[in-house]
C-alpha cells in the first residue's frame, strides 16, 4: 500500500455528497452491529460490494480489504466456538470443546460481520477525497479541527506503514532472519520460537515508528500553524458542497432501505 485510502475516480459514489455517504456508512455499521442475523449481514456484504464495483473501485482495492481483514476473520471464526460454549443442539463434544449449532452459527455471523463493518467504512473512505471529507464533517456541525485531525490521520496511515516496512527491512538487512529454520548459530528453531521471535522483533519497530510519528506530527503541526491555522478569521472552503437531485435520490433510497430493514428486524423477532 503506497497511496492514500482514497481511490481517485469519478463513479457515482465519488460524485455523491459526502453527507449522504456518511449516512449510508453509519446506517450499515449500526444495522450490522445490532442485528445478529447471518443472512442479513451476508446481504449487506453483497450490497456493499455491488456499490463499490458499480462505482468502479478497482478489484485490487477490494481484495486488499479482504487481505487485511483475513487474519481477524479467521481468528474470530476459530476462537468463537471455543470460548462460547452456549447452545442446546450439541454437535460435537471433546473435552472442554463443545460445538453446538448455536455457537457455530454465531461464529459465522461474527466472521461475516467483520468484513461487513469494514466495507461499510470503506464505502466512504475509498470514495471521499480529504477536503470533501472535512467539508462534509464540518457541514454536519463537527468542529473543523476535529475533521482536519481525522483527515490528516488517514492521510498519514500509508506513510507510517511504509516507515514500518523500511525499519523492518533494516532489521533483516542487519541479519535478523525471521523465517529461517535455524538460527545463525545453527540451532534449530521450531514454529513457536519463530512466532515469538517475530512478535519480539516487532516491538522495537513499533517504538521506532512511534518516535518518527511523534517527530513528524510535530513538524506537520508547525507547518499547519505557520500557514495560519489558528488565525481566528472566519474560515472559507475551497470545496463547495451542494445536494444535487441525484444526492436527494440516494438519500431517499437509503432512508427507505433503513426503514425496511428495521421493519424486517422487528417483524422477524
Amino acid at each position: 500500500m503506497d497511496s492514500d485510502l482514497y481511490v481517485p475516480g469519478d463513479g457515482w459514489l465519488h460524485r455523491a455528497d459526502p453527507r449522504v455517504k456518511f449516512l449510508i456508512s453509519v446506517a450499515m455499521l449500526v444495522l450490522c452491529l445490532i442485528w445478529r442475523n447471518w443472512a442479513f449481514i451476508a446481504v449487506m456484504l453483497v450490497i456493499e460490494h455491488v456499490m463499490l464495483i458499480t462505482d468502479r473501485v478497482p478489484m485490487e482495492r477490494i481484495a486488499w480489504v479482504w487481505k487485511i481483514l483475513a487474519l481477524i476473520i479467521v481468528l474470530i471464526v476459530v476462537l468463537w466456538p471455543i470460548f462460547d460454549t452456549s447452545g442446546t443442539h450439541v454437535l460435537l463434544r471433546w473435552g472442554w470443546l463443545r460445538l453446538t449449532r448455536e455457537n457455530l452459527l454465531m461464529a459465522a455471523v461474527m466472521g461475516l460481520r467483520i468484513p461487513a463493518l469494514g466495507f461499510a467504512c470503506f464505502i466512504t473512505l475509498f470514495t471521499t477525497s480529504q477536503p470533501r471529507l472535512i467539508r462534509g464533517l464540518v457541514a454536519l456541525g463537527i468542529p473543523y479541527k476535529a475533521g482536519l485531525t481525522l483527515a490528516t490521520a488517514l492521510r498519514y496511515i500509508p506513510v507510517f506503514f511504509s516507515i514500518f516496512q523500511s525499519v523492518s527491512a533494516a532489521q533483516r538487512a542487519r541479519g535478523l532472519d525471521l523465517n529461517g529454520k535455524v538460527t545463525a548459530t545453527g540451532r534449530k528453531r521450531n514454529v513457536f520460537v519463530r512466532i515469538v521471535d517475530r512478535f519480539k522483533s516487532y516491538l522495537p519497530i513499533i517504538i521506532a515508528v512511534l518516535i518518527r510519528a511523534y517527530k513528524m506530527s510535530q513538524s506537520v503541526g508547525w507547518a499547519m500553524e505557520s500557514r495560519g491555522l489558528n488565525l481566528g478569521a472566519r474560515r472559507t472552503y475551497h470545496v463547495k458542497l451542494r445536494m444535487r437531485a441525484q444526492d436527494w435520490m440516494i438519500l431517499l433510497i437509503t432512508v427507505i432501505a433503513i426503514v425496511c430493514s428495521v421493519w424486517l428486524m422487528v417483524w422477524l423477532l
Binding site: W222, E225, A233
Partner: protein, 532 residues
Amino acid sequence: MSGMITVRDLGWKYAPLTDGGKAVESLKHIDFDIPSGSFVGIIGPTGAGKSTLCMALAGIIPNLADGTMSGTVVIDGMNTARYSVSRISEHVGYVQQDPESQLFCASVEDEIAFPLENRGVDPDAMDRRIDDMLELVGMTGYRKRVPTSLSGGQMQRVAIAAALAAEPDVLILDEPTAALDPEGKQEVFDALERIRRTRQLTVVMAEQDTEHIARWADQVLFLVNGELVRNGDTHMFTRERAMLESAGVEVSADPMPRIVAIPDTFDGEPVIAMEHVTHRYAQGGNASAALDDVSVRIMPGSFVGLIGRNGSGKTTLAKHLNGLLKPDRGTVTVDGLDVAWHSVGEMAAHVGFVFQNPDHQIFCSSTREEISFGPAALGLDGGTVFRRADEMMTLFDLHRYEEVSPATLGYGERRAVALASVLAMRTPILVLDEPTAGLDHRLAQRFLGTVKRLNEQGTTVVMISHDMRAIYRYCSHVLRLRDGHVEQFGLIDKSESAQHPQAEPQRRHEPTTNTHGFRKISKHHNKARGKR
C-alpha cells in the same frame, strides 16, 4: 531600506528530551539585522543551530517548541514572542527541510488552498490564486496531483507556493534542498529567483551547499555551535575560506568534476554479477520498469559510485544486492550466492546495507545495543560482539552516548550510529544509500575516509550519491543509471584531458529566463488581511 528583521541577544535552550536530562543550549547571544528585500544565507556545520535559528525567525520558537528563549526577535515590527505563529505567518512564510512532513493535504491545490481558507479568502477567488502560485513556482498543470507522487524538487516548490500563498513579506527556508538531487536543487533556486523578480520579498535560507548561496546571497550569517561567528557578505567565501572549511563548511572554488567512465578490463571472478535484471514495482501503477535489463559485473575491491537522477533506479538496484528486492527477470549473484534463493537475513553476513534515512534503521534502545545488533544476529560470541561495538564507538566518537537511546541524538550522530552498526558486521560488501546527505563537509569526509580505508583493505563498496566531488575523490568506478537503464559503467577517468575536453559548452548557471509574462500578484486580492 528599512530593517525587516531585528534579532537582539537571542538565546535558546531546548527542553531536555528525557526526564532529568540536561537542557541543550542551541543558540547563544545572536545579534543581527536584515534589511527589507535581501537574500540572506545561513551557513554552518551540522548541529550549528541553523534550523533552530530558522524556527526562531518563523515564530515556532518560542511559541510552539519546548524550551526557554532569551532576547528578542522582531519581524516587520512584530515581536515574535507576543504573537501566535498563525499571526506571524501573515508576514512570514516558513518552509521546512523534510517535504513529507509539511505537505499534509491530499492534493497540490488543497495544499495551497489551506492557507487561503484559514484567512477567509473568497472561495471564488481561490482558483485563480492557486493557478498564480503554481505558475510562480513553475508547477502549472500539477494542481490535481497527490503531493507524495511528486519528486523532491517538485514537493519543495509546492511547499514554497503554499508558504507564499498568503503573501508574506519574509520567506524562511530551512535547508529546503538537502534531500534533493542537483537538478531538483536547481529547480528550487530557479523558482526562488523568479519569485524575487516579481515581488518584494526578503528571503532567509539555511543551506549546507554554499555554491548557490555564494551566487545569490546579499548577506551571509555563519553559525558555529549556536554562536554567530560571522555576519558579512559573500566575500566571506573567498577571504575567509580556510576558517569556513575548518568548521566543516565546504567552499567550492574548483569547478564540479566531470565523471567520465572508461571501459574496465574484466578478468577474474566478479563479486557482484547482475545478469539482465529487470524489476517492476507491483504497486504504484507505473507501467515502466524500475530496472530494465541491467547487466553489471563488479570486481572485488572496487569502490563503485552509483549515480543518476532521483527515480532512475539507484535504490532499486541497491536493494537487489542483499535481497530486499528480488529480480522479476535475470539473476543477481553476490559473493557467490544467487540472491533469489537466500533470505535478506542470510545475505546480511555478506552484504552490509546503510539506508538513506538513519531514522529508518535505528530501532534499539541504546547505542551499544544498536551497534551490537548486527554482529549478534550473525551469531558471533558475546566477547567478539562487545569488542566490535567498542571499536566502532571509538572510531565514530560515540562512547559518551553508549547508554543513550540513539533516536534522541542529533542528525550527525544518528548517521554515525547507523553507519557504525553496519560496519560492525565486517561484511565483505558494503552498500551505502546516500550516506552523507545532510552532513556537513567535515563529517562527510570522516565517514567516507573510514569507508575508503575499509575499501583499501579489500571491502567492495557500492555507494549511491549525488555529490559528484565525493564520487570523483573516493570512487574507483562509476555506474550511471537513467530510467532504469545503465547509461555508463566503468573506471572513472581521472586524467586531465577528461576534465577539460575541448569545445564543451559551459553549463549555464543562471536561472532559466522566463519567457512568459508574470501576472504581478496584487496585494489587494486578499480581503481578509485588511488593516489588521
